[in-house]
């Protein structure tokens, strides 16, 4: 991944608009947060292969990182804190934010094909 190029990402978001696409959306502070720090909370959420069709979407700079919002017919997809991007060889848009140690904090990914979900598919 590399630092987000806002116009390249916006272009890709536009490309996926009004199509059936699959979303991976995730945020996490790890399973060990409260193990290493008793006052910390373990929080995290992910949804893999949510099938959506968004009307339009936008990437907004916050000076350092970015927010992304995708408007659905009856709702929204939202992520804050993404700073890195990649358009991979399967033409998927991968966005992520990492902490200083390179650990993933948030991810938003958009693909026209489902993301792998079973171990066998890895082979």
């Amino acid at each position: 991944m590399e630092a987000i190029d806002q116009s390249a990402v916006q272009e890709k978001i536009n490309h996926f608009a009004n199509k059936d696409v699959y979303i991976h959306l995730e945020t996490t502070n790890g399973a060990y947060a409260s193990h290493f720090d008793e006052t910390a909370y373990n929080v995290g959420a992910f949804i893999r292969n949510a099938k959506v069709n968004y009307q339009h979407g936008k990437i907004v700079s916050t000076g350092g990182s970015y927010r992304v919002g995708l408007k659905l017919d009856i709702g929204w997809v939202y992520a804050e804190g993404v700073s890195d991007f990649e358009i991979d060889e399967k033409d998927r848009l991968l966005l992520a934010g990492h902490d200083r140690e390179g650990r993933l904090m948030v991810a938003l990914e958009i693909s026209e094909e489902p993301f792998t979900h079973e171990a066998e598919e890895h082979e």
């Binding site: 991944m1 991976h24 399973a31 992910f46 140690e101 390179g102 650990r103 079973e118 171990a119 066998e120």
Partner: protein, 219 residues
């Protein structure tokens, strides 16, 4: 005794290296075969390398290679169980236990090393440990392997008392370090710790002592 076979059953590539690679090396030095049944590929890991070189979609490809490398360092076989990271606790326990029972019998395991359910911090550790206990319960009493359970929670010794087995793995430290190092995407922080701290620091001492509780089943 001949015909010994150790099965190590943990959910993630790297669990084997951090928690038990000294003990594994000890068994291998004695000529005992060891197989690692690895539950998932750690697809949902938070560490992407430092500096970052993996992403959510490519992480498993690195972790698979890293596991193969660690297994080579430790001279053990690996079987991937094919579950998905972070989801083991949501799989039906009976099905998981049945699957494990079949693998345990297929290998003719004499000792199993797994996590101590309820004392293993990560939900996948607890879930797979519980499934191993259940799997062994499903085996006829005379034919059950021993089960050694690895506890991780900070307070486990207060609640569980002294472990039944305590190994000083100093003689195998280099092996262990090499196995940990193989998990490049995951261990940057840990390697810094090993390189920058006094060899006597608390965490290093912890890594050099591997300990287990023996499972006792009533029937």
């Amino acid at each position: 005794m001949n015909n010994k076979h150790i099965l190590v059953i943990f959910p993630h590539p790297d669990d084997e290296s951090f928690g038990t690679s000294g003990t594994i090396s000890k068994f291998r030095a004695e000529g005992v075969p060891v197989t690692y049944l690895c539950g998932t590929l750690g697809e949902m890991g938070r560490n992407m390398g430092n500096p970052v070189f993996a992403n959510r979609e490519t992480l498993y490809t690195y972790r698979k290679k890293e596991l193969a490398e660690a297994a080579k360092e430790l001279d053990i076989d690996v079987e991937l169980l094919g579950y998905r990271d972070k989801t083991l606790e949501f799989e039906p326990l009976d099905e998981l236990a049945q699957h494990l029972k079949e693998r345990i019998l297929a290998y003719g395991a004499t000792t199993i090393i797994t996590h101590y359910p309820g004392y293993a911090v990560h939900p996948d550790h607890d879930a797979l440990g519980a499934a191993v206990v259940k799997a062994v319960e499903l085996i006829e009493p005379g034919k059950r392997p021993e089960v050694w359970m690895h506890a991780i929670t900070n307070n486990h010794e207060d609640e569980l008392g002294e472990p039944d087995f305590i190994f000083d793995i100093e003689p195998y430290w280099e092996r262990k370090e090499a196995a940990i190092r193989a998990h490049l995407s995951q261990v940057d922080g840990m390697m810094n710790l090993i390189e920058n701290h006094e060899q006597t620091s608390k965490q290093i001492q912890r890594l050099k002592r591997e300990q287990f509780y023996r499972l006792t089943l009533s029937s």
